[in-house]
């Protein structure tokens, strides 16, 4: 394993940890809006770390550009859907919070 491989391994494991944090947030947070907050940030940060780790290993500039494009599209998709679901939950009568703080 070269230095590049070790760097990739570290970045990929950090990304996997962020995905784990996103899943725990999805399962443990009390209401819908905080779950949106957990998912759209933690998951895309995890995907960003994994994409960064794979970017180091890329053979050509085209492969690297494709990985970066995947990440940017994932960011746009998460931002759009997070906003849409939050807006939909606000204008319908879903319970905002189980225990009123």
């Amino acid at each position: 394993m070269s230095v590049l491989d070790i760097l990739t391994a570290i970045l990929v494991i950090i990304g996997a940890a962020f995905f784990l944090a996103g899943t725990i947030g999805l399962l443990r947070f009390p209401d819908l809006h905080s779950r949106i907050h957990a998912l759209t940030k933690a998951d895309n940060l995890g995907l960003g770390f994994i994409a960064l780790g794979l970017l180091i290993q890329a053979d050509s500039i085209a492969v690297a550009l494709k990985i970066v494009l995947v990440w940017f599209l994932a960011l746009a998709a998460a931002a759009t859907s997070g906003y849409l679901i939050a807006n939909h939950a606000m204008e319908s009568n879903t319970p905002e919070r189980s225990d009123d703080v």
Partner: protein
């Protein structure tokens, strides 16, 4: 231990992550919760496909990752536009 083994191991870990997120779909109180968990699986699936493309040395899989991430929004948009709660969407859909 080669770096490819690590890729596959992280892919297995992300698959178990999906398995944990399925619980939220099963118990989720509101419809938005279930849709949100499905959105999570889009992102996780993209990460799994990227890792498999590198770990199995198959560069065609990156195109699949592009398609998956492009189509992840469609289901959410359809959900928001067409399957609202009955009291709000009785007539015409959309604001």
């Amino acid at each position: 231990m080669s770096i490819e083994t690590l890729y596959v191991a992280v892919a297995i870990f992300l698959l178990l992550n999906v398995l944990g997120g399925l619980i939220r779909i099963l118990i989720g109180p509101a419809r938005g919760d279930r849709m949100l968990a499905a959105q999570l699986f889009g992102t996780t699936g993209v990460a799994i496909i990227l890792l498999l493309a590198e770990g199995l040395d198959r560069p065609a899989l990156r195109d699949i990752a592009l398609v998956v991430v492009l189509l992840a929004v469609i289901n959410t948009v359809v959900f928001v536009r067409f399957t609202g709660p009955p009291e709000d969407r009785a007539g015409e859909t959309g604001p």
